[in-house]
Symmetry: C2
Subunit: 397 residues, 2 copies
């Protein structure tokens, strides 16, 4: 998956089985540590119901001297009242004690079932065990990336080298998420680590910039979670990046996030198709995103794609309820390379050929072209299958 020499320098990782999950072979607790104090920034769920660890991260970010993040999976620590807040702070404190830093230097994330208290008697020793196993290798990162998964079938890791002023800086990201994925943010946890020096204020701005076309442009079913968190750490020494060089680093950061966001849609619960929706020709990027999101989240569009049914009227009608002003003559639609609807008029098409395209390709492309402006959006989603229903009908029972 990843090799050591690509990873951002100065970070160590651990993933352990604490006992939060019943299966002893399942890793459920991760720790990521920067060897030196790092700038850190975050973007969080827009849900009004916010998990306890999100409250704690919001209090502590942006930061000038963060040391790491502790993450547990299998329990979201959401809707858990004051006790949940106390537990989240305690997770950070236990990690800080093991690392010899202040609790405020540690961030905390959780993901899993909502509404249950954390089993602190297993989590606290789990954190200490993780601290004892910290390691900068790709194998350790893989263990951390496994420990944050819920219904994901695979880890999501992306790492980028970048030449800046003759030296190499690196960005390493990993993420989890397979359902309860709706933009603002997508329901997921993601972490991007870099050995570049980036000032906290720049990092906070770039975290937002990187989230917009990545985690805010992916949806499984539009259910915005209580725990969505994207954290950036930058532990480089010396003068912070500036100007064009900072812009290049920002572009690389966005690419890492786009890779991770696509990996989430590809691994969506029960999905049999990965679907890219390209919307062009609207007045603003927000309009383009609203149309793409409405199409991406329509159960009728998603079931038609699953069934290889070229029922394109569902796509056009979903665009129509996105609360974006247009007339039918402003819109044309392609499924793959086939133009089905041109400037408000349906075209005759070979239904068997389009059905074969839907059936024969795991990766599908829907293109909606408007004639109202120059703004566009690329959005990723999946289809809605029997397996999605099965996985979510049986989640906690």
């Amino acid at each position: 998956m990843t090799t050591d020499w690509h990873l951002a320098r100065g970070y160590r990782y651990a993933g352990v089985h604490s006992g939060l999950r019943p299966d002893p072979n399942r890793l459920d607790l991760a720790l990521v540590v920067s060897d030196s104090p790092a700038s850190a920034a975050g973007v969080f769920t827009q849900n009004r119901v916010v998990a306890a660890p999100v409250h704690v991260c919001r209090e502590r970010l942006p930061a000038v001297a963060a040391r790491g993040v502790v993450i547990c999976s299998g329990n979201a620590n959401a809707c858990t009242g004051q006790r949940g807040l106390d537990d989240a702070r305690r997770m950070a404190t236990v990690a800080a004690e093991a690392l010899g830093c202040r609790p405020e230097q540690i961030l905390v994330c959780s993901t899993g079932v909502i509404g249950r208290h954390l089993p602190m008697p297993v989590i606290e020793p789990g954190i200490r065990a993780a601290a004892a196993q910290l390691d900068g290798s790709a194998a350790a990162l893989d263990r951390a990336a496994h420990a944050i998964l819920t219904t994901d079938t695979c880890i999501k890791v992306a790492t980028y080298p970048l030449q800046i002023n003759g030296a190499e800086v690196r960005l390493t990201g990993f993420a989890k998420g397979a359902a309860m994925i709706g933009p603002n943010m997508a329901t997921m946890l993601a972490f991007v680590l870099t050995d570049a020096a980036v000032a906290p204020a720049d990092l906070a701005r770039i975290t937002q910039t990187a989230a917009a076309p990545s985690f805010n442009c992916v949806s499984v079913e539009g259910h915005t979670s209580t725990n969505d968190t994207l954290l950036f750490f930058a532990n480089g020494r010396g003068a912070p990046l500036e100007g064009d060089v900072l812009a290049r680093w920002s572009t690389a950061a966005t690419e890492v996030c786009c890779d991770l966001a696509q990996a989430i849609a590809r691994d969506a619960e029960g999905a049999s198709h990965f679907v890219t929706i390209e919307v062009t020709g609207l007045r603003t990027e927000d309009e383009a995103r609203c149309v793409a999101k409405a199409v991406a989240e329509s159960a009728l569009v998603k079931t038609a794609l699953f069934g290889a049914d070229p029922n394109w009227g569902r796509i056009v009608s979903a665009a129509g309820y996105a609360d974006v002003a247009f007339e039918e003559k402003d819109l044309s639609l392609w499924l793959g390379e086939t133009l089905l609807y041109q400037a408000g008029t349906p075209l005759p098409f070979d239904a068997a050929a389009v059905s074969a395209y839907l059936k024969g390709n795991r990766d599908l492309l829907l293109r909606l072209r408007f004639t109202l402006g120059a703004a566009s959006c690329t959005f990723w989603t999946c289809d809605l299958t029997y397996d999605y229903v099965r996985l979510n009908a049986e989640y906690t029972t």
Copy 2:
């Protein structure tokens, strides 16, 4: 189902097989006629992509002298460009010729697959055949109610008698809809006929009033259709209803619409549960409706209900992304009679008992109580099942 003496007087009905649908035993074209000119008003989809018959109805309503409506099922006549508009007008003209009235006195509706042109060579003779069979009996209404169905498994009819000034007036409604049901309006066709005299302006206002707590409070999957139409006809002679008497009639009209809206959620595609969501204690009815709608349309809530999984965190988190401001301490949640979440804190509960409630009852009740005001909303929906996926993966193929 219905008996003659309950039906609104002065209306005749027909339902025929025109050939629009391949199955010769399937009725696919309905005609409803008022014997005398009637006030008429409508409420329509808020989708930007609007089917041709909706354009035609909007042009003609509110009306002082409407004579009826012609409806076809199996084809939505949506996304069909100028030819679709011509076809919709032609349907009304053919009906008007057969009835001896002006085309503008006839309204038109279609429901079914989007993006296909109407087969006018079978529809035109179908309309003439329907006109020749018009009849005021309940059996004829049943045939009309059958002819408008798509994936519905049963007809939806409601009829109410009301005593006004010592005389009986009646309201008779019928509707279709089983999927592509999202509020603003729900994706459906509904028709309410009364033998009361109601002025067109009052009828237009009351149609809106009646739609708000009924068809705008039902959702299957939130996909707002291109064809949603609610039409009211009032053919009573003499002085129009006024004041308190008009208010009583309006209340009865709302009840008819609520009955039909609930019937749609009960017959939702593939549904195994009929779910009532009661939201109380918000600042405005619109806020209460937004919360209820977010919960009703969450695929994660719907799959949990299907699976009898008491995973109540999905309900609270759906409320949290409804774009209504609240804090967790403002919210309590009941599933059936079990209080699961009280003022922001989870309560211990008997998961097996709640699961048994979900498994053992077709009709489920979710209650979300806020402490922020006096406004409330009752909303109806269904669960998300394998059968919903199957029906919609195989719809046109």
